[in-house]
């Protein structure tokens, strides 16, 4: 049992770093995923993840495979797309999903172009798919800082965020901070994607953000419980994914996300608000 569950983490420093990295990622990404889902922006996370690419690629082209420039570049590109899409949706007749689609496609194409400028020296996929096994201390600090910052911002603006999700018009009618809260939230999304990008890569970091949140949705309707549950599911997926990767010789990133996917499927079927339970009690009205 020790060999199976604890041994790998005790024996190898890289496993400890990978574990710490995924746990911290789950803490920040879980609640952000919950809010994304509640705002019906689940796919926006995916779009944002692509939007990070040109910034990261520019950082990579100018400074090589160094964490700080790639992070800052990704942050700038992600924020530009998030804020641009937000602004367009607020000041024109186009919806946020439409403007988001336009901005992220432009951004993605620019990213692919930038990466190929340098020939194909060091595979693009290695830039797109980070590897959780190669996390160093510097990256861990970055992930930790972003997760802590996320929690602080969420704690301060919790009520505003919940109100914005459930009834944005109400929030706007009683307070002027609706727009601010929305922007802050988009910044949080980008920050968490950038931090996940180092560990799991742009594509899979969305998985650790959305899948635990979507799974948690099947168990509870309270936002607080849902967020805590999402964090827990994210953490369990991280640990289980790493152990599976270690024992079964599978790549780590996909293993982690697939465990989270499994958690989603189980919740979908067995959750309190999942398929089976809602079939068993067909007469009761659903509560939002």
């Amino acid at each position: 049992m020790y060999e199976l569950l604890i041994g790998p983490f005790v024996d190898y420093g890289f496993m400890q770093k990978a574990l710490l990295g995924t746990l911290m990622l789950a803490v920040g990404a879980g609640p952000v995923g919950v809010f994304l889902m509640l705002r019906r922006m689940s796919l926006a996370g995916d779009a944002m993840a692509h939007a990070i690419l040109p910034g990261a690629a520019a950082g990579y082209l100018l400074f090589g495979l160094a964490i700080i420039p790639m992070t800052i570049g990704g942050l700038i590109a992600g924020l530009a797309v998030a804020l641009g899409a937000g602004a367009v949706s607020r000041y024109t007749i186009q919806n946020e999903d439409a403007s988001m689609a336009a901005f992220y496609l432009i951004s993605l194409a620019a990213g692919v172009l930038l990466v190929s400028l340098r020939g194909s020296s060091v595979d693009l996929m290695h830039v797109l798919f980070g590897t959780v096994l190669a996390l160093d201390t510097q990256t861990l600090w970055l992930i930790g800082t972003i997760s802590a910052l996320t929690l602080v911002v969420l704690a301060i603006f919790w009520r505003g965020l919940v109100a914005e999700c459930l009834d944005p018009l109400y929030l706007r009618s009683v307070s002027g901070i609706g727009g601010l809260v929305h922007l802050l939230f988009l910044v949080l999304v980008v920050l968490n994607l950038v931090s996940g990008f180092q560990a799991l890569g742009t594509l899979l970091s969305v998985g650790l953000m959305m899948l635990p949140a979507l799974a948690a949705r099947f168990w509870t309707s309270r936002v607080e419980t849902m967020s805590l549950l999402a964090v827990a599911i994210g953490m369990v997926s991280g640990v289980a994914g790493l152990l599976i990767s270690y024992h079964l010789e599978l790549p780590s990133g996909p293993s982690i996300i697939l465990v989270a996917g499994l958690a989603y499927l189980v919740s979908l079927i067995a959750g309190r608000r999942g398929i089976v339970q809602s079939r068993l009690r067909p007469h009761r009205h659903r509560v939002a």
Partner: protein
Amino acid sequence: MKRFGLLVFAIMALLVPLPTHATAQPLKVVASFSILGDLAKAVGGDKVEVVTLVGPNGDAHVYEPKPADAASVSVAGVVLVNGLGFEGFIERLAKASSTNAAIVEVSKGVKPIEAAEEGHEAEAGAADTEQHHGGIDPHAFQSVPNVRLYVKNIAEAFCAADTTDCDRFKANAAAYDAKLAKLDADIRAAVASIPAEKRTIITSHDAFGYFANEYGVKFLAPEGISTDSEASASDVAKLIDQVRADKASALFVENISDPRLVNQISAETGIKVGGALYSDALSAADGPAGTYIEMMQHNVETIKGAILGS
């Protein structure tokens, strides 16, 4: 308008080479990656014009051809490829460019070795199976005797395409072959100066199978034979165990692949990264591995220096 027409005619006359000049023109050769480009120049000298598709420090495993590449291939007299499944893109490119040129696999006659078992299994599920060709290691050029075969094949291919300069090609090839023979002897001498039990090193992807076979240095790698696989936690753990058991004595990064995993192993075991090895591509001309011979010299010197220095 009339003047404009004359101008166009004048330009056309300049641009379109007269047929009588065609025979004196150098043979147009397309080489799939930088090492072959270097060999082609050595054999062809000034009688060939070499275009290299995957340039210095580029990774042929994952290369995406550009329209200009198709254009070069379509006008080429000879297209040189490594073969053994190294260039996954070449078949599609040849078809797209509808070239009449002979596509020559310069590794013809090389005795292929199986890919190392480790990383390869991890990538068995990877989408692009054509790159991996049933577990054959394509990096045959890491062994100098193989490259002597390459050179012979290249000379034959050039002779078939351009009979008038055939003697020249043969002479160039013979001169280059002598250099390769000396290089081979130098590498053997350098490896012999390393104690046998210290001849195990770690690199980022499995590109040195032929070097290992030929010269008796053992290479371990977290990635498989191609650069497009992802390492599993157990792959990395096994490498760390090897170092801890004092089986591996040096760590290297490669010019074409992601250095982060190797750096992580270095941080964990306390072995310093001994430098960069050039595996599948040359460096820029002014770099430490601008030609094939320089590349092999650089690699063996770097390996020797790091092991004896540790």
